[in-house]
Symmetry: C2
């Protein structure tokens, strides 16, 4: 085993892992969290047993998939931050970016959403829930950091991050299944306004 062959094999392995991850993605996009190891194997054009050569078990595989899906979103989000827009602009862009991202890649949305709570059918409920979300949390954490930088009251940052995150998610829940609906930009605009200015302005003139 030379170092070079190590690298080679490592590369091959990485390729395999990625290919399986993509297969899993497709499987989950189709069947949601109910996707079977067999489903994933089929979708990866691979035998079920092979999956276990590259992943310890189902949990680890799903974990990886979720991670991979999120990474792409995080990259786009990071891009928004790097543009150093005003606060309002940033919010608008964040909303639009996430909406667009998942609108184009509904498969990723399915993953993001269905794996929201990892174990799914976990009996380790009550007490252990203090380590609640998976790497999805990374997204919320990133928002939190931004708010901490930019807000008067740093204490509120986590709540605001969650608020923003869940709020966009709410819109997506509506958008994804429906075939027709408001144009994406309209939804984004609507939500941004709401987030920024609140409900008060919307009361009937009366």
């Amino acid at each position: 085993m030379t170092t070079q062959s190590d690298t080679r094999e490592a590369l091959l392995e990485r390729f395999r892992v990625e290919s399986i991850t993509e297969g899993a993605l497709r499987a989950i996009a189709r069947k949601g969290a109910a996707a079977t190891m067999q489903d994933i194997a089929d979708e990866s054009s691979i035998a079920k047993g092979t999956l276990y050569l590259y992943f310890k078990d189902r949990d680890e595989l799903l974990h990886r998939v979720s991670e991979a899906a999120l990474a792409q979103l995080l990259a786009k989000i990071e891009d928004v931050f790097s543009r150093k827009l005003t606060f309002e602009e940033t919010i608008r862009e964040l909303v639009l970016t996430k909406l667009r991202f998942f609108d184009e890649r509904r498969d990723l949305y399915r993953v993001h959403f269905e794996l929201r709570f990892p174990g799914g059918r976990d009996p380790l409920c009550d007490s252990r829930a203090s380590v609640p979300p998976p790497e999805r949390q990374m997204y919320v954490d990133r928002l939190t950091r931004y708010f901490q930088e930019v807000l008067e009251n740093k204490e509120e940052a986590p709540r605001l991050a969650l608020f923003l995150s869940e709020t966009v998610a709410a819109l997506l829940i509506r958008r994804i299944p429906e075939t027709s609906g408001p144009k994406l930009e309209d939804d984004a605009h609507f939500l941004s306004d709401l987030l920024l200015n609140g409900l008060s302005g919307r009361r009937k003139k009366s």
Copy 2:
């Protein structure tokens, strides 16, 4: 079979159904959506087979439980509406009411939340998702109706309702697992302000 005996049996049956429903509630509060028919039977002090005398199958049972849980919340919400408060007051009360309700009855929250998407592991994904949510939708619908009455732009009502609903849910996600945290009233106040006035006011003075 006289009419009276019919009534009698019907009453007994209703009692049985209710008792099972409560058992199921406890089971789900413990184990979440992973709760087994056996779990439910145990929690109801009843044999598993008996469940099937009163419910067609697992789906129907969970459906009922979800319905029952929601009914209690809807009653409280209706109460808020009947008080004919101002718009702002209504929003604040809606937030507070839902937050309080689930804070006291975390078991119901678990049901409400975990059964959010009924089938759970349903393979009838993509296409049929146009009939997406369960009777939980009733809650959002009720909010929608309110917004339609009270808002300038009726078209926005469904989106606003969803927005309000998901937003409170987001806070609950945080609150429920955590043992300590901001006081309930603080959270409610925070969220209401946010909903009503938006993020804009929160930017750092700078």
